[in-house]
Symmetry: C2
Subunit: 384 residues, 2 copies
């Protein structure tokens, strides 16, 4: 079962449960959709590998090639660099206890780009780089939706930071992430978030250029805005990760259809409630995560949507609760769960709210392509 | 850093962040508290190792000895058996795709006890055991609070199941878990759940004995009921796991004090919101989990309570949101967060809602004992 070699005859029912299942055909179509969209917009993609955390998965959608990637941990950077990926953007604010590890990666030949948003930290980082004669392109994070980190496009801090980095030869440009787009309620909302993301970072870039500072990188991204932006003009790259697998949150936002979801958790029925209103499966929060990303959406999917073993949704049945190794399956209000249909041992699949969070609970993907046949296995890595 | 050997001089600030920190002294005191309680009650403890998932941690609180343990996965069973633990209760409903693995463990010399609650499954399991001449003690799960799996103490299924197993020479007794106790609102509630758990299973045992069926094992447990039960009479063992570490959910239930919490996540400040009302740390849901166990409690702790590097709570500051590698720190309503006090790189610790869920996100514990000195490292295992 190691590597991607499997016996020809392996079927889903031969896997131990719970197990993470990846529909390779769906993933390929999801990748193709974003590729076409960005190609038409004339902007390159920088795949965010925080969702897949698998060199094999990313190589597969790149047709065996390498490409520029974004990472959320230095472990991702090290793993992808070891696999031949040279251009790595560490898209989480840098902390001093990571300086040395970034330096090591750079000395090992990686082109690492880092991110920060605080002046004191920028000074510390500049001193560190000067002492070691390091040239690490450093982006300033811009906050375009008040959701997370970053400086305001119109604020004084932006200029101070860019000048501090620039005088140390480190300033590489700007980055923003429209995390607020996850709260969209309509396609118009998604377009509005994409517009705000792009316009915000362009305001910041324009101000810096007005001060004579070159801004080589203008990096935007999130799966919803990457797919719904009406313009990518003057943006130098788009980051996205969850687009590869999609999930119930993305379907709830209208970013994809339910039949685009490539990731699911294979599970076995292990019992029923005494009153026969609920079913218990062996996918608890260790297999699904505790993510409740669809809770604020119009259509709450609990901890996941139940499917048959082929991945076809049983739309009235959701994971209503999770314990460590138990998932509770209930019917939605007004619907009815016939527990007799699901004796102990029945194999089912669960579509996750949040692909990143569910995948993070597992050490490997088991590949299928629309049938019960297991085509291979791709390893994932965990930790930092 | 491997094993439990560390350089004498290692301090918390030398660890990469995020990192899981375990206060060994607190864990020892928590273990001692339950040990004394159960000793006074005259009932043996069966430690549930699903929380620790570490042979070293469990051996430590057992003073280097082995003992009977409960497990939530067969991987836990295999790991503990390999370390010399012979009596293993697999306390999650059995599924047919795990029969063979249980058989292997049994053949390897483990005394494995399993659990089920369905008649069809019991028949299938009996056939399996007969064909392989296996004698695996099998418990029937009893539902004493309507919360999870199990048959009712007063129902017909209990007798059918026990008779089916008994005629195959497999019936080992009864098990119940007062998961409902997590919804307690007062010490009186906790005592009531403990009473209901014990009385429910004793009703079931009495009925079976009345039919001439011996009931050797009467297994109850959950950390709240283990600590608050007023009587353990006629119970043969108490299972508990989270008592070793305790967590904010347990503190919110009144089961422990905040200063008993042994587990925390070490984290670094990586940025501030543009409006200076929030702080960002490098402990996101990959480090904390998405568990919101204190949300329904009187005192909602967000995704965790912020502490200084020594683990002393900064009681007005909580993790208000989590992204994959970002935790957002906010002040509680009415309080104020002075972001100037926490420049990028500041080391902090976060007390988790749910020890099992937070520990599950990590590959190792870093041991301290009230100071910043790191005393060792214990490996954890993940997966199934």
């Amino acid at each position: 079962m190691r590597g991607s070699i499997l016996l020809q005859t392996m079927e889903l029912r031969e896997l131990p449960t719970p197990a993470l299942v990846l529909d390779r055909g769906r993933m390929e179509r999801n990748a193709e959709r974003l590729r076409r969209r960005l190609e038409a917009g004339g902007v390159p993609l920088r795949i965010h590998v925080k969702t897949a955390k698998s060199v094999e998965a990313v190589r597969h959608v790149l047709g065996g090639r390498t490409a520029k990637v974004a990472v959320s941990t230095l472990l991702e950077a090290e793993q992808f660099h070891a696999a031949g990926f040279l251009d790595l953007l560490y898209a989480v604010g840098l902390a001093p206890n990571r300086f040395e590890r970034v330096a090591q990666l750079t000395r090992a030949g990686a082109r690492v780009t880092v991110l920060l948003d605080g002046l004191e930290l920028a000074r510390e980082w500049r001193r560190f780089c000067r002492e070691r004669a390091l040239e690490v392109p450093t982006l300033v994070e811009v906050d375009t939706d008040g959701k997370r980190a970053g400086v305001r496009p119109e604020g004084a801090e932006l200029l101070e930071l860019a000048e501090e980095l620039s005088s140390g030869g480190l300033f590489g440009g700007l980055l923003t992430h429209a995390g607020g787009s996850y709260g969209s309620r309509s396609p118009e909302d998604l377009r509005r978030f994409a517009r705000a993301e792009r316009e915000g970072i362009l305001v910041a870039a324009h101000r810096l250029r007005g001060q004579g500072l070159p801004v080589p990188t203008v990096s935007v991204g999130s799966t919803p805005t990457a797919l719904f932006s009406e313009s990518y003009a003057d943006v130098t790259e788009v980051r996205a990760g969850v687009f590869l697998f999609m999930d119930l949150v993305m379907a709830g936002l209208g970013v994809c259809r339910l039949e685009d979801l490539a990731l699911s958790v294979l599970t076995s029925v292990i019992g029923h409630s005494a009153d026969r209103t609920r079913l218990f499966v062996d996918a608890g929060w260790t297999a699904l995560s505790r993510d409740r990303g669809t809770a604020p959406q119009a259509f709450d999917q609990g901890y996941g949507l139940l499917c048959d073993v082929l991945g076809r949704p049983l739309e009235d049945l959701v994971v209503s609760d999770t314990h460590q190794e138990h998932g509770t399956i209930s019917a939605r209000p007004g619907a009815w769960l016939d527990t007799e249909r699901f004796p102990a041992g029945t194999l089912l699949r669960i579509l996750p709210n949040h692909a990143c969070a569910t995948a993070a609970q597992h050490g490997a993907y088991h590949l299928v392509d629309g049938s019960e046949r297991v085509l291979g296995r791709w390893e994932r890595f965990q930790g930092w």
